[in-house]
């Protein structure tokens, strides 16, 4: 594909298109316009609804209240995007005056230094850093909530927080972490590293790349507003009809998910298109680095999965505002409809989270063991098998819902089958480790932790997927421990490994190793203690999401809380290391790990178009080893 003719129409270091609106817009104007839009929507909706209902005693019923709040939240999101210049491109297309080269270069942030991080910047490396900071913020907030939950649960009868606050903590910890984990690898590494890995000069749709980040950004204040609107009582699953009955804070949840779903659809489509259509010359499908394959399968899976969650939230919003009856049994609706739509998204979503983390580690192992990746094809079959089966297993979350007991058998079969492709992922990792001498650096440590954590998460998943055992375990702390072992122990560990591995390329400096080791052991030991205690509590019969428990669960909960503080200390050390090393770490060489993928062939700072001349690929990046 030699489609690259570098026509130089304009070429100067710092383009500054005169009289172009885009030079004047940034995050600040976005916030201002967003607030203006929200305020206008608030007053317009409130006054029009007041006239509509001014004849009755209580003018603002909960429903009109919900209309006002939801309307203001969406107005904020749209207003922010208007104010930061997200719609300039489509507008200029419509009036037939396409953006000039100079403007395109300006939007890529060429020569703008740190300011470009606060603009509608189309450079994939800027978007990657924005995602990294966003992810770390979300993880920090979600982690703090987890600490508060565990503090409340340290002793039976604990009242560190009130019941309302506790329920909000559970729900907001859940959704914050889910959002963070969905973007934790594909956001920073998928945007920053992946286009370089496949030898592309940028993503396929640079403006949509900026859009996906800034749309996500607008969701963060909306999610935070849930706190000030009374919190959410439903957990992150937001089951109806509880979510319809819930107070005004629920509107923030509904709006967040709808906005986030737009962001993931755009990001997923962009990454998939980039990988399919923009690989450099010679990079056939069997030469693509495994991280690229994994991320692409993950985001491609998200494209059809997330809209059903969005739909469930649209329906929740309509039930809450315009009195539709999707989930109200008295109006012909059903909570089972919600559960189905939610889990049709929900189960693929856990693999959307997991696969990029595993794929990052598969990228790491060959480099640090100096052996080729064992059975590249098995890895791809593993990812594809998981992705394919994941859309057929959703109702294993509903074994005990009573919606269709006769379907429990078929769903159990599909669910158990997932252990086969999952087993292939283990085989690839241990096959690569076999007869190798792993170079014990920070990224490699994550591989060992991942194998242990994911093994526990996987085996406990096998009992949970068996209907009779699920009849006892469902909705208990055991489930919570199980999915934390897979999502945190496996996926987050993988992402932290990826961060340690790509940190030198993204920041130009090495991550502080000593702090990294200390953090690693705190986090991993704390994590295992924490969720071992939770397995015990679940086996004993403690339901999940409870703010209080009987004395019989006291020991296991105490163990969990102690472990949680270990994780907390470790994460604070890691955060310190990341921030400190960013400015004060030792300068990284171009290829500190001696890896063979393309991102290590470019210098830091990575040039705007990544490569002077797009590289030509003649083999896969795993050509390590002696012999054959």
């Amino acid at each position: 594909m030699s489609t690259l003719d570098m026509t130089s129409t304009h070429s100067r270091p710092v383009p500054h298109p005169k009289r172009s609106l885009i030079t004047r817009l940034h995050m600040g104007t976005g916030v201002v316009v967003g607030i203006i839009f929200a305020a206008l929507a608030y007053y317009a909706l409130k006054s029009s609804l007041l006239t509509y209902t001014d004849k009755v005693a209580d003018p603002l019923t909960p429903h009109t209240d919900n209309i006002v709040l939801l309307g203001s939240m969406f107005a904020w999101s749209i207003g922010f995007l208007v104010g930061i210049g997200a719609f300039i491109g489509p507008w200029r297309w419509m009036i037939g005056k396409d953006l000039t080269d100079e403007e395109i270069l300006y939007m890529a942030g060429d020569g703008q230094g740190i300011k470009r991080y606060f603009k509608y910047c189309t450079d994939h490396k800027v978007v990657g850093i924005q995602y990294l900071v966003g992810v770390m913020t979300l993880l920090g907030v979600g982690g703090t909530m987890a600490m508060m939950i565990r503090t409340n649960l340290a002793r039976p009868g604990g009242h560190f927080v009130t019941a309302t606050v506790y329920n909000s903590l559970v729900g907001l910890h859940g959704i914050t972490m889910i959002i963070a984990m969905i973007i934790v690898a594909t956001g920073p590494f998928g945007n920053y590293i992946m286009p370089i890995m496949i030898g592309a000069y940028d993503m396929a749709f640079p403006r949509l790349n900026a859009l996906s980040w800034w749309v996500l950004f607008t969701a963060i204040p909306v999610l935070c507003s849930a706190w000030f609107l009374g919190g959410i009582p439903t957990g992150w699953t937001a089951y109806a009809p509880l979510s319809v009955q819930a107070g005004p804070g629920m509107n923030a949840f509904v709006a967040t998910i709808i906005i986030f779903a737009v962001s993931t659809a755009v990001a997923g489509m962009n990454i998939t298109t980039t990988v399919v259509a923009m690989r450099t010359k010679g990079m056939k499908w069997n030469r693509v680095p495994i991280f690229v394959i994994g991320s692409t399968i993950s985001v491609a899976l998200a494209i059809p999965a997330f809209p059903t969650f969005m739909l469930a939230m649209v329906q929740t919003g309509l039930d809450r505002t315009f009195n539709t009856g999707f989930f109200d049994a008295n109006m012909g609706g059903s909570g089972w409809l919600y559960a189905n739509l939610f889990w049709i998204m929900g189960h693929p979503e856990v693999y959307v989270i997991l696969i990029p983390g595993v794929a990052a580690l598969m990228e790491i192992v060959p480099v640090f063991v100096r052996k080729p990746l064992f059975s590249y094809n098995a890895a791809i079959m593993g990812f594809a098998g998981i992705a394919g089966l994941s859309v057929l297993v959703w109702a294993h979350h509903m074994y005990i819902a009573g919606w269709a007991p006769s379907l429990n058998g078929p769903f159990m079969v599909t669910t158990e089958m997932i252990s086969i492709p999952t087993g292939l992922l283990f085989l690839v990792l241990i096959g690569t480790l076999w007869r190798g001498k792993p170079w014990m650096k920070l990224p490699m440590l994550s591989v060992f932790a991942f194998i242990w954590d994911f093994l526990i998460g996987g085996i406990t998943g096998i009992y949970l997927s068996d209907v009779p055992a699920d009849g006892y375990l469902h909705g208990s702390m055991y489930v919570t421990a199980h999915f934390h072992f897979t999502l945190m122990g496996a996926a987050l560990t993988g992402a932290i490994g990826g961060l340690a591995y790509w940190y030198p390329k993204m920041t130009g400096r090495m991550l502080n190793e000593r702090a990294g080791y200390i953090s690693f052991w705190f986090v991993q030991i704390g994590f295992n203690v924490l969720f071992l205690g939770m397995f015990m509590a679940g086996a004993e019969g403690q339901p999940r999401r409870v703010m209080d428990y009987a004395a019989v669960f006291a020991h296991s909960n105490m163990i969990s809380t102690i472990g949680a503080y270990g994780v907390g200390i470790g994460m604070i050390i890691l955060l310190w290391a990341v921030i400190h090393s960013w400015t004060k770490g030792t300068i990284a060489p171009m290829n500190p790990w001696g890896a063979k993928t393309l991102e290590w062939t470019v210098p830091y700072p990575v040039p705007l178009t990544n490569f002077d001349e797009l590289p030509v690929i003649t083999s896969d990046p795993y050509g390590y080893g002696k012999g054959k």
Binding site: T3, M269, V276, L311, F326, P603
Partner: protein, 201 residues
């Protein structure tokens, strides 16, 4: 190498960019299709469940199948006329007007149906309720139809303006027309699918 090296905008060949854009639009169509699938699933799930006999409570009026098909027709016309316009810039001068008009008319019909829903309940508080699950599903599907119409009309307007005001050579803009064709075709298919769904009351 550092920041002050000169950089240029990459101009890939139209064929490559066109392929890329069509793939991207088709992936977005997959997402939109999942949303539509969810709506159709909701419709038939609640219809079959008929919880408490409240799918369509006794005495509640409903829209006829004809009305659903009436909304689908303009989309089919838009998709066909846009396709005809792919032949040349001159052809597009005419077809782009027809496409836009069809979409506006369709959007208006859909809006009119939504504004005169026959199945609303008004209680004393002035709060409006939807009478039964059919009513709720119908309103949601109609709402998504309005969204399709608005978005498509924006695209059609852009095509019309670009075709008449810019001097872009025929080949240079053709890939954009073909990208839009994917979307219009999908909208027509989606409208037919909702037509079938809403015909089964």
């Amino acid at each position: 190498m550092s920041h002050d090296t000169e950089f240029h905008v990459h101009h890939d060949s139209d064929a490559a960019v066109g392929r890329r854009e069509r793939l991207g639009v088709r992936l977005l169509i997959v997402a939109d299709g999942a949303f539509l699938f969810g709506m159709i699933f909701s419709y038939f799930y609640l219809r079959n469940l008929n919880a408490g006999g409240n799918w369509l409570p006794k005495g509640v009026k409903h829209y006829s199948a004809t009305s659903a098909w009436l909304v689908a027709i303009p989309f089919v016309i838009a998709a066909i006329t846009h396709r005809a316009g792919l032949r040349s810039k001159q052809a597009r001068n005419l077809t782009s007007v027809v496409t836009l008009l069809a979409l506006l008319v369709g959007g208006f019909i859909q809006w009119d149906q939504l504004a005169h829903m026959p199945f609303l309940l008004k209680d004393d508080g002035g709060v409006v309720s939807f009478n039964g699950a059919y009513a709720s599903n119908w309103a949601l599907i109609a709402g998504s139809g309005i969204f399709h119409y608005f978005l498509s009309a924006f695209i059609a307007l852009g095509i019309l303006i670009r075709n008449r005001t810019t001097n872009l050579p025929e080949e240079l803009d053709l890939w954009r027309q073909r990208t839009a064709q994917s979307w219009f075709t999908w909208c027509a298919i989606a409208a037919i699918l909702t037509g079938i769904t809403l015909s089964i009351i």
